[in-house]
Symmetry: C2
Subunit: 360 residues, 2 copies
């Protein structure tokens, strides 16, 4: 087992990464001091892992809460029902919420834990690659609003994260690839040597080799932990984790959420952002090619959907990261060095969107 720590003073917490962690009672025990817990999961994960986690939770008084799979569970209604179940189970302030599943479960259960009795402890047990490298680390929790994803939420740090790579064995191929998009993002935005490693090991990851998965998950968590420790509430540096996301969110919105997986959208978004980095800065043509090539080897899209560039640009203007009306972009100065820029002309953005598919 590999372990690291997110340093946030009184809210610091460990991330454990390894094989077979979800059945280890000793990893849950420190957080069961109140003797009661709610185990929140979805109807896809429950049949495979619920019984195992239940056994590991031992004698704790347990409320089992199984939600429908999918983004629709990140709604007011689902949140209200979840809170009703915490109340019905008479959970006190010392109870623990265990979030077993992907990003949707972590975001929803984490937000419920954030607001139930003004905040109780929660433990992230991510079962998708995306959740292991991204959404379960950093304390962002949220539900969606009809007008926008993650519009309602809280920063609420987990008490610990158990990232068990054996749970990735049952992950659908397409979701594995989508998770790899975020893994690749960490490299291009923050860590050139990690890009080198990924270029050598992308096939091992696609074959789900445990050693490679543990290394990749750990490296991503280290990078994210460092940034979160420096910028818990996303005032500055944390925005760099959004490389590819300004374009990616627009692709997700334009295609109605769900047609493209988040990772697929940000893969195409990273290519556009790389093109824009070349058009408006110093990124070299061969560096843009490396972005495109690694994503392609991971089986990810390297061009956006067949839409007028203006449609994506309109949606980007609505993105909640837009400050004072100017869309902000995370661009690359070189491989592994991302910077936040708010000085980009719309004409360049348009050219970057168009450039992506043309060079296929």
């Amino acid at each position: 087992m590999e372990s690291l720590r997110v340093e946030l003073a009184s809210r610091s917490y460990p991330i454990h990464i390894g094989a077979g962690l979800i059945t280890r009672a000793d990893l849950y025990a420190p957080y069961l001091v109140g003797g009661a817990a709610a185990l929140v999961t979805n109807d896809v994960v429950a049949p495979i892992y619920l019984a195992k986690v239940k056994q590991a939770l031992g004698n704790a008084r347990l409320a089992e809460i199984v939600l429908p799979d999918g983004e629709r569970s990140k709604s007011w209604r689902a949140l209200e029902q979840l809170i009703d179940q915490l109340v019905a189970a008479r959970l006190g302030r010392d109870a623990l919420v265990v979030a077993l599943g992907g990003g949707v479960i972590g975001d929803l259960a984490g937000f419920a834990a954030a607001i139930y009795q003004r905040g109780i402890a929660f433990l992230q047990v991510p079962t998708t690659l995306l959740a292991q490298v991204d959404s379960s680390v950093g304390g962002k929790t949220a539900i969606d609003h009809p007008q926008g994803k993650n519009l309602i939420g809280a920063f609420h740090q987990p008490c610990a994260v158990l990232a068990d790579v054996t749970t990735l064995d049952t992950l659908p191929e397409r979701e594995l690839r989508a998770g790899l998009a975020e893994v690749i993002k960490y490299g291009f935005a923050l860590d050139a040597p990690f890009v080198d490693w990924l270029e050598k090991n992308i096939e091992q990851l696609l074959r789900r080799e445990r050693e490679a998965l543990v290394y990749a998950v750990k490296r991503c968590c280290e990078l994210k932990a460092r940034i979160v420790a420096a910028d818990e509430r996303e005032a500055g540096e944390r925005a760099l984790l959004n490389f590819g996301h300004t374009f990616g969110h627009a692709i997700e919105a334009a295609t109605g959420y769900g047609a493209w997986l988040h990772g697929e959208a940000i893969a195409a978004g990273m290519v556009m952002a790389a093109e824009l980095s070349m058009l408006t800065g110093h990124l070299k043509k061969n560096e843009v090619a490396r972005v495109r090539e690694l994503l392609g080897r991971a089986g990810l899209p390297v061009a956006g959907p067949a839409l007028a560039p203006e449609r994506l640009m309109e949606l980007m203007a609505l993105d909640k990261k837009a400050a004072k009306g100017r869309t902000r972009f995370v661009l690359l100065e070189s491989i592994g060095r991302a910077r936040l820029r708010a000085d980009i002309e719309p004409a360049a953005v348009r050219r970057a969107i168009v450039a992506a598919p043309q060079q296929l």
Copy 2:
């Protein structure tokens, strides 16, 4: 104008206390950096103060949100509608929520600000004595659940508090007295010299003399600020602010919320807690008499409702401060020295409840 500061590192904020503050544009300006705000109030306060505050907010792009007066606005539905209005007004992360009203408005608008886009700034402009000395300071925000008050919420500190004592001129007499119950609580729980001052100045406060009001509000805020700075999330010392509240909450619940005002219930609760302090500790008979007498002079109840003591005891056992099944009480060692105790026998609690009305 008197000012003090709640020291909470990066979440520190000022409390300004004085006459005529709500119309002072300079007190709002530092928090209008984003140029947009939502002004949240209720239909009783709006006709009197909305236009004044609006003028002070100057050129800010403004969403006016007027809710029905009363505790029913602390519901999921009201919260959801309020968030919908923030979204409809396209408020960004740099917008400000201004909570203009009593505790209900502060709790609801503060909670909406806590979860909108994972937290935006909010400014407390309390217009009741209760809100000026208690609910607007300390960052507790919440809505109610059918199974319990304040069961869903967040700790979200305001960016500033403007306590304008001239707004108390329009406060109904009964609410003024209920607010004085909390003022008196600060004295008996934490500050013996303040009890002496109150015994000399209670009539001035009832006559709403500005100098006396400013002094009392400031002293309460100082006491609360000190405690909140030491214990933001109510792990320990902050519980001392709940003197009279374990009994008081049970009285509110037993009478169905609303029949008794919060301050009236905790007034009777303080008498019971004082009796219990004498029965199980060192509080002297003449000290219990001082509690009863000062509350009586403020026109507050000094005995509970006509109910079997067992009914109140049942409700206290459900109180969310109950840790591991044992009801905790804030009791007095002497005037101005409260302590948290979890070792109280039910028989003594019963005797304290019965003692209150018998000595009328």
